[in-house]
C-alpha cells in the first residue's frame, strides 16, 4: 500500500526541480537549439529551392541560347538569300538595260545610216540627173549641129510620138 501512496516531500522536490528545469531549459537550451535547427532547416530549404530555380534558369537559358542561335542562323540564311537574289536581279537588270541601250544605239545607228544612205542616194540622184542633163545637152548639141541630123531627129521623135 505504501508503494502507491505519494509522499509530500518527494512531490515537493519533484515539482520544484521540474519547474526549475523547465525554466532553465526553455530559456537557455530549447530556444537556442530550436532556433539553430529551424534556421538550418530554412537555409537548407532555401538552398534547395535556389538550386532548383538555378537549374530551371539554366535550362531556360540554354533553350534561349539555342533559339537565339537558330534565329541567327535563319537570319544569316535570309540575308545571304536576299543578297543572292539582289545580285541576280541587279545583274538581270543590268543585262536588260544594256540590251535596251545596245538596241537603242543599233536602232539609232541604223536610222542614221539609212538617213545618210537616203541623203547620199538623193545627192547621187541629183548629180546623176545633172550628169544626164549635161550629157543630154551635149548629145542634143551634137545632134543639132547639122540640118540633116536635125531633120532625122525630128522625124524619129515624131515617129516615137506616133507609136505612143
Amino acid at each position: 500500500m505504501d508503494l502507491i501512496l505519494p509522499e509530500t516531500g518527494l512531490m515537493f522536490w519533484t515539482g520544484l526541480v521540474f519547474v526549475l528545469l523547465l525554466f532553465i531549459l526553455t530559456k537557455f537550451v530549447w530556444k537556442p537549439i530550436l532556433n539553430a535547427v529551424n534556421t538550418r532547416e530554412q537555409s537548407i530549404t532555401a538552398s534547395l529551392e535556389l538550386a532548383e530555380k538555378t537549374k530551371a534558369e539554366m535550362m531556360a537559358l540554354q533553350t534561349q541560347n539555342e533559339n537565339l542561335l537558330k534565329e541567327a542562323r535563319a537570319e544569316r540564311d535570309a540575308i545571304v538569300r536576299e543578297a543572292k537574289e539582289l545580285s541576280t536581279s541587279m545583274i538581270e537588270e543590268a543585262k536588260t538595260t544594256a540590251k535596251l541601250e545596245a538596241e537603242k544605239i543599233i536602232t539609232s545607228a541604223r536610222e542614221s545610216i539609212n538617213n545618210e544612205k537616203i541623203a547620199a542616194i538623193a545627192e547621187l540622184k541629183v548629180q546623176i540627173a545633172e550628169f544626164s542633163i549635161s550629157i543630154a545637152e551635149k548629145v542634143v548639141r551634137e545632134e543639132l549641129t547639122s540640118d540633116t541630123k536635125q531633120t532625122a531627129l525630128a522625124e524619129k521623135l515624131a515617129a516615137d510620138f506616133k507609136l505612143n
Partner: protein
C-alpha cells in the same frame, strides 16, 4: 553445436545443480529466503533516507542523507540518527507484541519505521493498530531522500547534456551538429516533429514544445539513471508514484488551462447528444479529464517499477537458492531484461510526452465543420 544447444545445456546444468541443492537444502529456509528477497525488492522500489551501497542492511556501507522536517519550524539532522537509534518492540494498543521492531529516537522525539517518520507519543513510543499500522501523526518530511538526490543528479545531468549541446550552436551557428549536439538534436527534432507537431495542430505546437521537451528529457534521462546499478544511479525515481503524480498533474494543468471554447463545449454540451443525456454525460466527461493524466501516472510508475522488480527478482534467484550456479541463468536473463529496459526507458518517455501532446492537442483543437 550452435548457440541454441549451448544455452540449452547451460540451463540443464543449472537445473541439475539446483535439484542437488534443493535435496540438501531445507525447504523452510528457501521459503525464508524468498521472503527476504521480496522484502529487499520492495525496500529497493520504495524511497529511503539513506543511499545503501553494499554490505548488510545494518552495518553495511551506506550514505546517510539529510532529514529535513517541517514540524513547528524546520528541523534538520542526519538520517543516521534514525537508522542507528535504539530499536523498540512494536506493541499494539492492547500491549500485544506485533513481532517487529521500530526505531524510537527519544532525543529528537521521532519514531522511524518502514522509511517513514512519526512523532513519538508522550511516553516516547509509537501507537500501533491491531493490523500493525502506526497511528501517530507525521511531520512534513522534506528530506533529501535517495529519490530526491537521484532527482538532483538527473536534473544536473540533463542540464550538462543539453547546455553543452546548446552551447555548440551558440559557438558554431546553425551548422550540422557535432559531439553532444549530435546526440541531443535528433531527440529534440523527434519530439518536435513526431510528438508536438503530430498531435498539436494549427501551428500551436511551438507554445507547448518546451514543456514536452522538458518532460521527455526528464523522464528519459531519469529512467536511464535508474538502470545504472550504483551511485549516482539505481534509484527507482520514475517508478515512484510521487514523481509520476507530479508530472501527470503538470500535464493535467496545462491541458485544462489551455482548453478552448471548443474543448469545453465538447465536455459540457457534447454535440449530437440529447439534452436528457447531458446529466450523465457531463460527469463522465469530467471524470475523463482526470482519468487521462491518471493513466499517465500509473503507466510510467508501473512500467518503471516493474522493470526494477524483474531485474531484482532475477538476481534474487541466486540468493534464494543460495547457489552461485544460478548466476548462469539469472544473470543472462537480468541482462536481457536490462537491455529491454533501455527500450522501455525511451518508450515510456516518448509515450508520456506523446500522450501529453495528444491531450493538449485535443484541448486546443479548433472546431471542425
Amino acid at each position: 553445436m550452435n548457440l541454441k544447444n549451448v544455452l540449452k545445456s547451460i540451463v540443464l546444468t543449472c537445473l541439475a545443480v539446483f535439484s542437488l541443492n534443493v535435496s540438501f537444502a531445507n525447504e523452510k529456509k528457501t521459503e525464508e529466503n524468498m521472503e527476504d528477497a521480496e522484502l529487499d525488492i520492495i525496500h529497493h522500489i520504495k524511497d529511503a533516507h539513506e543511499w545503501h551501497l553494499w554490505g548488510p542492511e545494518h552495518g553495511g556501507t551506506t550514505i546517510y542523507l539529510p532529514v529535513i522536517l517541517m514540524d513547528g519550524g524546520m528541523k534538520t539532522f542526519s538520517s543516521e540518527e534514525l537508522y542507528d537509534g535504539n530499536e523498540v518492540e512494536a506493541l499494539d494498543e492492547d500491549g500485544h507484541d506485533l513481532g517487529f521492531k521500530y526505531v524510537a529516537n527519544t532525543e529528537l522525539g521521532y519514531g522511524f519505521i518502514h522509511e517513514k517518520i512519526y512523532k513519538l507519543n508522550g511516553e516516547g513510543k509509537l501507537n500501533f493498530s491491531k493490523e500493525g499500522h502506526p497511528e501517530n501523526a507525521r511531520p512534513f518530511d522534506f528530506s533529501i531522500t535517495k529519490n530526491t538526490l537521484s532527482l538532483f543528479f538527473g536534473a544536473i545531468l540533463i542540464i550538462i547534456l543539453t547546455v553543452t549541446a546548446a552551447s555548440f550552436y551558440k559557438k558554431n551557428g546553425a551548422v550540422a551538429p557535432k559531439g553532444l549536439a549530435k546526440f541531443i538534436e535528433p531527440l529534440v527534432v523527434f519530439v518536435r516533429d513526431d510528438v508536438a507537431k503530430a498531435n498539436i495542430h494549427g501551428g500551436k505546437h511551438e507554445k507547448y514544445l518546451p514543456y514536452l521537451l522538458t518532460i521527455f528529457f526528464f523522464i528519459f534521462i531519469n529512467n536511464l539513471m535508474g538502470l545504472i546499478p550504483i551511485l549516482p544511479g539505481g534509484a527507482n525515481l520514475t517508478g515512484n508514484i510521487s514523481v509520476t503524480i507530479v508530472l501527470a498533474v503538470f500535464t493535467l494543468l496545462i491541458t485544462v488551462l489551455s482548453g478552448n471554447k471548443n474543448y469545453w463545449s465538447h465536455i459540457f454540451a457534447a454535440p449530437g447528444v440529447p439534452i436528457a443525456l447531458l446529466p450523465i454525460m457531463i460527469p463522465i466527461e469530467l471524470v475523463g479529464i482526470l482519468t487521462k493524466p491518471f493513466a499517465l501516472m500509473i503507466r510510467l510508475f508501473a512500467n518503471m517499477a516493474a522493470g526494477h522488480i524483474i531485474v531484482l527478482a532475477l538476481i534474487s534467484i541466486i540468493f534464494v537458492n543460495q547457489s552461485a550456479w544460478w548466476g548462469f541463468l539469472s544473470v543472462p536473463m537480468a541482462l536481457f531484461i536490462s537491455v529491454l529496459e533501455l527500450l522501455v526507458c525511451f518508450l515510456q518517455a516518448y509515450l508520456f510526452a506523446m500522450l501529453s501532446a495528444l491531450f493538449i492537442g485535443a484541448a486546443v483543437e479548433e472546431h471542425h465543420h
